[in-house]
Each structure stands twice: as structure tokens, then as C-alpha cells.
Symmetry: C2
Subunit: 184 residues, 2 copies
Amino acid sequence: MKNVHKSDFDADPDGSLFDPAARAAMRQFTGGGDTAALEAAAAVRTAFHAIERMRAHGSQGRGLSSGAMDLLMRLGATDGDGVSIGELAQSAGVSSRNVTGLVDTLEREGLVRRVPDQRDRRSVLAQITAEGRDWIKAFSEPSQRAMTAMFMDFSADEVTRFRDLCLRVADNQHRLAQYLEGAS
Amino acid sequence: MKNVHKSDFDADPDGSLFDPAARAAMRQFTGGGDTAALEAAAAVRTAFHAIERMRAHGSQGRGLSSGAMDLLMRLGATDGDGVSIGELAQSAGVSSRNVTGLVDTLEREGLVRRVPDQRDRRSVLAQITAEGRDWIKAFSEPSQRAMTAMFMDFSADEVTRFRDLCLRVADNQHRLAQYLEGAS
DNA sequence: GACAAGTCGTGAAGTACGTACTAATGTGCT
DNA sequence: AGCACATTAGTACGTACTTCACGACTTGTC
């Protein structure tokens, strides 16, 4: 990670952090209105990139992207014939096109293989390989340690609450998308 | 947004949401260890993509990406000769190469222009144009509405706390990166 | 003044993610 | 049976973000 040296944050009177530069920009943007939602959205962005950087830095060498790692973990948890691309996409909440690409990557690394689905010949099943399971074994502990470090000053309750808030945002988006789809 | 129909979440006994499929995968991954940090990290990813989708859906047509919008807002808040690429990168917490690309995009749209820095001829200043300010005027209200909708069932306190948790994660990453840099 | 070392923006290349479209295949209605 | 329509994975294309490498430029030191 070069050239990225995030500026420090300030703290509000209640102790919660905020990004002064972002807040100033938001205030201008909203014309003096409420910036809370925009600030929170920007903060999610910041946190996401931070986690992404941590992962890139942590699992040096054979580091998989978060998307690929997510898929591999999901495949590792199922001990059957494999999971179809579409099913993976739905469960991970990303486009199937993206899963196709990630499976390409994992297949190139030898961690996953494609097998045709005999029940539905349109479908392709992704199966984790022995190497894939080895990867999981090898990277489980360092990954876990890196992510634990990211939340080092969080109480257990805060971690849980944080997860809850994140998923509620995702839930809202899902609901809104469905609502808007109906309106079109 | 096609092909993306995120599965629903379950709620823990304490009412906090979690992703059952992800948790199952994590448990396998950690070998039965604590999955809290990994689950939280995955949740951030989910929330980030949700916000990204909302923005893509909301500001249809002349929709800028979140990165580009962030830059434009920062430029809109400064009424001087402009801001250098590196300064923007630092303030937004991304690589300067990325800012170069985003300024390319904004310049193509006519929302920003590049001017040489007379004090330092290596440097390039990005200036917001009149069109850029018009864009801000036009998209301020809908963007604000969309982001408010994303947090519709959040109390004001929860939004603030959420922002704080996000920025603390970013702060931890920053600290860890500096620490690890020293160790190499 | 000259020159080594650091900084600045950007070209090149790689990954992740999205939409729109297509070919192959499955399904349901008549 | 046959045919319209849905669904699946993948192709093509565009954007965001990253690291690495490089040329243009500044700065600190002699």
C-alpha cells in the first residue's frame, strides 16, 4: 500500500469519530442540511477499503481477493457435489457474472474445479479441490488474526452491533431495490 | 441491478442480524473458533456493496461513482485555485493513481479541469467547473434522500455510532499498517 | 552550480465488480 | 408434440481500485 496515508479523524463532543474534511464537503453539498447519512455512507466506504487493504497486506503472496476468499470458504463449508454459479452468486449477494470471474481465478489457482451438473445441463457446479482445502487450512489462522486485529479496541458487543448495523443497511437496500423495481 | 438478490438474514437471540450461510462457512474456516471478527468484516463488505448499488440505482444517467462524487464534493467545498492530486488522494484516503483516474473521468464529464500548479511544476491542480457546481446542486437532494433511505430504520444515535465504528476500523488499519511497515 | 535523493502525476498491467447481450438448455401451456 | 418463455453460464465492455515503474521536477547537501 503506497501513497495511501489516510488523514486522522477528529472526535465529536460525544467521542465518536468523524472525518473533518468529508464533513466540510458534505455540509457544502447538502447546503447546510443534515449530513449524518452521507457521512455514515462515506465511513462505510472508508472501512471497506481499510479492511481490503488489511487483507491484501496480511495474506501476502497467495493472497486471494475478498470475493474469491468468500467463495472458497462457502465451497469449503459444503461437502457435496459442488455449488452452481448462480447459487453462489445469490448466497454471496453478487452478480453471477462476478462469480464466473472469481471461479475463473480460483480455477486458475487450482483451488476449485468446474464440473457439469447432470441434473441441469445449463448449470455448472464449482467444487473445492484438495488444494483449496489446503489453502483454507494454511490461511485460516493468519486471516483470523488479521481481522481480529482490525477490531482490536472493540468490545465483543460492539463487534456484534457493528455487524448488525452493516447488515441492516444491506437489508434496507434490498428492500428499497425491490420497492423501486415495482415502481418502474 | 440484475442477478443480485441477496439472501435474507437471520437474527441472533439478541436480535442482531447475521448471515447464516456466511457464518456456517466461517465456522468451517476457523475450525470452530471465534467468527465474530470475520463475520463483521464480511458484513462491512456487504454493506459497502449495498450502498454502492443504491447509488448506482439512485443517480441514474449522470450518476458518478462514489469515488468520483467524493472528489467532486471535496473540490466543491474548497473555493481556491484547486487541489493537487496528491492532496486529494491523501484526504480521501485512496492511492494517488486512483485520483488521477477519477479526475480523468470528471474532466471528461466537464465537471472538473486540470490546471498546472505554478508553485510546483510537478503538481497538477484539479478545479471544479461551473458545470461541476451545477451537478452538485442537481444531485444534492436526490443523493441525500437515497442515503437517508438506506438508514431509514436507524435512530440518529445509531447512525452516529455506526460512523464511529467504521472510522475506528479504518483507524486501526492505519495504525496497523504503520506498525507493520516499521517491522519490515 | 552540481548532483543525489525524494516527490509528483501518470502509463502499464492486473483484479473485482457492474450491465447488457447471447447461446444453450429447461419448463410450462395449449 | 410443439412452441413461447424463463433461466444459466458466459462473452463483451466499462469503471474503480491497486501496485510497479518511470520521467519530470524540487530540494537538501556539498
